[in-house]
Amino acid sequence: MSQSPRRPSTRRRASRARGAARWGPVLLLLLGFVLSGTIGAGAYFLPLVTTAARQTNLPSGRATTEPAPAPPTAPFTVLLLGSDDDSKFAKDRVLTQTMILIRVNPEVRQVTMLSIPRDLWVPLSTGGSAKIDLAYERGGARAAIATVERNFKVHVDEYAWVGLKGLIHLIDRVGGVDLVTTNPVLDDFYPADLTGGSPYGYMRIAVLPGPQHLDGTHALEYVRSRHGDLRGDFGRSQRQQQLLLAIKGRTGGLGLADLPDLASTVSGEFMTSMSLDRLRQLLPVARQFDSGNVHQVLLLPPYTSSAVIEGQDALLPHWNLIIPLVHQSFP
């Protein structure tokens, strides 16, 4: 039986149908791989997006698609807070053993770091008077900022809070820090609260002096120890400022694309008021100044004096001396 020839249009339709049948699954497969790859990349960048959304209320789509905004030129002030955040404390009810007020002036590339002694006895924004490290425990970052603003007569533009583990993870994530440890730091009563034992236990530490490379754990030992230092808390404050500069030195090469990994590294151990756009603005600023342009201020005597108040060892502020000093750098 002879087959009647098909009309050309019918053949084309049939050919297209066969082509679609052949290529359809391939295209679908390719689409699937593209989609899964996109999801994989998205999952990697998720911490950045969620951090941005959580901390800044930014629309998540802005996280990586827009060009970085211009670096700031106006001076601004950041309150840096650090806490023991181990099992001695309920979450978000911690003391801030570290409070450093940082003034950045991008135009003249100068930075001033003022360490606020944790034992400074001041009126709290939440009412009553106590050591200033209690402000955060009473009312979180808002209360800590308000207490600093009211007492020091300054305006705080931004804040950042980091816990002990967050600091360790951050330093390890950037590969450790290089710094000059000023003297042997030996402490027989260093808190053993990060090793899984009793949060009230102690351990011995020894950080030897001189230029060296420190990982997160040993860098924390260097800046957290205070018992063996003639200057007590002031010595610790000076070492904390030193570590900040060393971290800045290691993070100067970081860019926006490093933020997801950093965000996941310090997840739950870091909080800030700074928006993602703000962080993107500040990254180039951090690269602009070197340690020679950093002015470090400690409120040693005569700015403060020791006292026992309500049975606690405290520091009395002498505001007539402190305020003029502060306003030299924090107008």
């Binding site: 699954p25 497969l29 699937g32 791989f33 989609l35 899964s36 790859g37 999801i39 994989g40 990349a41 999952a43 990697y44 390890d172 994530r173 950037v174 590969g175 450790g176 820090v177 290089d178 710094l179 000059v180 000023t182 003297n183 042997p184 730091v185 030996l186 402490d187 027989d188 009563f189 102690y202 351990m203 011995r204 530490i205 020894a206 030897l208 002096p209 001189g210 230029p211 060296q212 490379h213 018992h227 063996g228 230092d229 003639l230 200057r231 002031f234 010595g235 030193q242 500069l245 060393a246 290691r250 090469g253 970081l254 490093d258 997801p260 990994d261 340690s291 020679g292 400690l298 040693l300």
Partner: protein, 334 residues
């Protein structure tokens, strides 16, 4: 398409997605913080004279020519090796979590004898011992020990321990709550050079190199407070002292003539960068030291020919890359 093929395709897609996730993370992490090599996996860029002993993350390594040998692996707690005058053994610190001891080992790193027993049952009875140094007559070892201590005060004092097992003697009285006295350098005539830490009334911390004639007397300052010098290392002929002096967050490698009583002017050989652990070449014509050498910031081995008197120092040569030597550990070189 069968259900099996669909399942296989979905599984491959999922694996691909995870690979992308993992790949980005690994690439970014590796780019920023590559782990250091172990020294025996690399050679130095230049053969050295004699034998050099260095430590990295608790491991002990020997460099001969341009090849490293591992004598004790990472994690053993070894640091601060010091070679005996007869070049047949080392005194070295073995550091544990909460105490450290001075141990005599042979040149292959095998322990011979433990000189201290600092691991106590509690905080009060545990001690740190660091910076061992043989006396030139090889009869005793000087080191820093956190004894006596009381309450919160834990400062290093220089002690001397006879190798004939006589009771150890305390040599220095540190400034309290400063961390104490470190880096002893015994002299052939029985005197001692060491570094003392001070915290002054303004809260400034500095180190000075002192010369002490007898135990427990005040030392004579060889360097000025404002120079903040430490890590004294005497040249093989005893006529020059190499030191690390601190300026802000940077260090200077300096040498000065030593006439047995005082130091001459400091000659700065390396400036404006972190550097540590100066060690004299056995013939005294060059120095090795540790300094960061790359973006990772970890301490590498560097070499510097000493300039002729009155001449500026030539460029230092970086001998290793991507290692992580312990910058608080002396280099033993003979």
């Amino acid at each position: 398409m069968t259900a099996g093929r669909v399942a296989l395709a979905l599984a491959l897609m999922a694996a691909f997605g995870y690979s992308v996730y993992y790949g980005i993370g690994t690439f970014r992490h590796a780019a920023s913080a590559a782990a250091p090599n172990r020294p025996q996996e690399v050679t130095s860029n230049m053969p050295i004279v004699g034998s050099m002993y260095l430590t990295q993350k608790g491991g002990l390594y020997r460099l001969q020519g341009n090849r490293f040998s591992e004598l004790a692996p990472v994690g053993k707690g070894w640091t601060q090796p010091a070679v005996a005058p007869d070049h047949k053994s080392l005194a070295i610190v073995q550091r544990s979590a909460q105490f450290s001891d001075i141990v005599l080992v042979d040149l292959a790193g095998t322990p011979i004898r433990r000189l201290t027993q600092n691991g106590g049952r509690d905080v009060e009875s545990s001690h740190w011992a660091f910076y061992p140094a043989f006396s030139p007559d090889a009869t005793s070892i000087y080191f820093s020990l956190d004894s006596p201590k009381e309450g919160f005060r834990v400062d290093l004092n220089v002690w001397v321990q006879s190798l004939s097992n006589a009771a150890p003697r305390r040599w220095t009285r540190p400034n309290i709550y400063t961390g104490g006295d470190v880096a002893p350098v015994p002299l052939p005539d029985g005197r001692l050079i060491y570094a003392e830490y001070t915290i002054d009334a303004d809260g400034r911390v500095y180190s000075q190199v002192l010369l002490q004639g007898r135990p427990l007397v005040d030392g004579l300052a060889l360097t000025r407070p404002e120079d903040d010098c430490g890590q004294p290392t005497l040249s093989p002929d005893g006529t020059r002292l190499a030191m690390i002096c601190i300026s802000g967050q940077q260090a200077r490698l300096a040498v000065a003539d030593f006439d047995g009583k005082k130091l001459g002017p400091l000659q700065v050989l390396v400036d404006g960068r972190l550097c540590s652990a100066p060690a004299w070449q056995p013939d005294g014509k060059a120095l090795a030291y540790l300094s960061p050498g790359g973006p990772a910031g970890r301490f590498q081995l560097w070499f510097l020919d000493l300039p002729a008197a009155g001449s500026p120092a030539g460029p230092a040569r970086q001998l290793t890359t991507n290692l992580e030597f312990d910058a608080t550990s002396r280099i033993a070189w003979f």
